[in-house]
Amino acid sequence: MIEIKHLYKSFEDKEVLKDINAVFEEGKTNLIIGQSGSGKTVLIKNIVGLFEPDRGEILYDGRDFVKMTKREKVLIRREMGMIFQSAALFDSMSVLENVMFPLDMFSDKNEADRIRRAKFCLERVNLAGAEEKFPGEISGGMQKRVAIARAIALNPKYLFCDEPNSGLDPKTSLVIDDLIHSITEEYKMTTIINTHDMNSVMGIGENIIYICEGLKEWQGNKDQIMTSTNERLNSFIFASDLFRKVKEANS
């Protein structure tokens, strides 16, 4: 479980996050949603330690990440996996080498075991047979799946996804969502997904936090979102005709 308490972050005189409080539960897909520029990427970057918050607490199963020493942060980062918006695969390495990278760096297993584990992770994301390909030779959806395989190679306790569906077609997005959701349940991970894809919200949103202008505006799940009376949330969620019609049909 990850808990955020009174988190603030500003860049020069612009306050991007204002008193964010949230709980991200274990074994659930926790979604952070909000418009572009609302502060959700800044929030996730604070949580993983790519940005330093101005004040507030980030608790990983009770351990305050902000107050940790550099060494402690390095150790806790080995319990994290992250899928970036751009997949962020190492383009000089093959698919297998990408997935093996965290194992090569931190695992004490022998090479045969490391290869076996990497191949297992690739099979888990339905990419068996693509081991020798390079990131530039595979599609965007496949790159995201390789990123998922790399993120789960060390059996992380915490999984972070920054807009995992960005640039993907709706069908491939569903595949990625299902994959993240099933992996979260299977490995009992605390998963935080940063998204503004409404299909993801309706499909896998077990715990949703809506951020608006740096403030936590709303928290609930995918069923509650349909009946919410929060005006700002509704104007964001039901901005498209399709979702307006879904809401009308539901009501």
Binding site: V48, G49, L50, K73, V74, L75, I76, R77, R78, M80, G81, M82, F84, Q85, S86, A88, L89, F90, D91, F101, P102, D104, M105, F106, F160
Partner: protein
Amino acid sequence: MFIVKFLSAFGSYLMLMGRTFSIPERWRMFLKQYIKELTQLGVDSIGIVLLISFFIGAVICIQIKLNIASPWMPNFTTGYTTREIMVLEFSSSIMCLILSGKVGSNIASEIGTMRVTQQIDALEIMGVNSASFLILPKIVGLMTMIPCLVVFSMAAGFVGAYASALVGIVSVDDLTIGLQHDFRQWFIWMSMIKSFVFAFIIASVSSFYGYTVEGGSFDVGKASTDAVVRSSMLILFADIFLTPLLS
């Protein structure tokens, strides 16, 4: 304003070097990266070093014979001057300036692209010291290879000088006597020591500019140019200090 900017950049450079020079987390991975850098930065530069040095050696020889040598000078002057220019300055300083263009831009653009495509963030999230993992093998690799390239450059320059002798501009005997006249081994060492320092400048400064890129492809291109310009300036500056110090 300029001083503040300079000091701020210098401070960031020192902090980055502080992170870079830490014990590798996995020696196995460091060696893998080190061997890759030896090939990418060193072995892949052998061709251009040999080509440029061959022609410069030949041209120096021709220039001295046709434009400087006179009946008042001994016949070995052409070979002697060619050797001194190649050994003392061209193969170390000028060759490193050329390599700062090739290798420096390569390093800055590679690391810069990794920065803007979040590959460095991915390393950090995994708990990897990205500075040490990416930069240390490049610095050590280039410092290993550049002294070797300097020796290759000297040899190629002399071959170029002999090539000009073969077309009849200077006699082979005079050239051989000149190349051997008053030879001091220390000059070779001096050249290698200088190149060793220049290699550190090229790799560390270029890595710094690549690592600190913010933005997109335009910024990577700018960082690559800045890396070449700044490392070239620092090489020239270091040359001024090292030459009297080592002579």
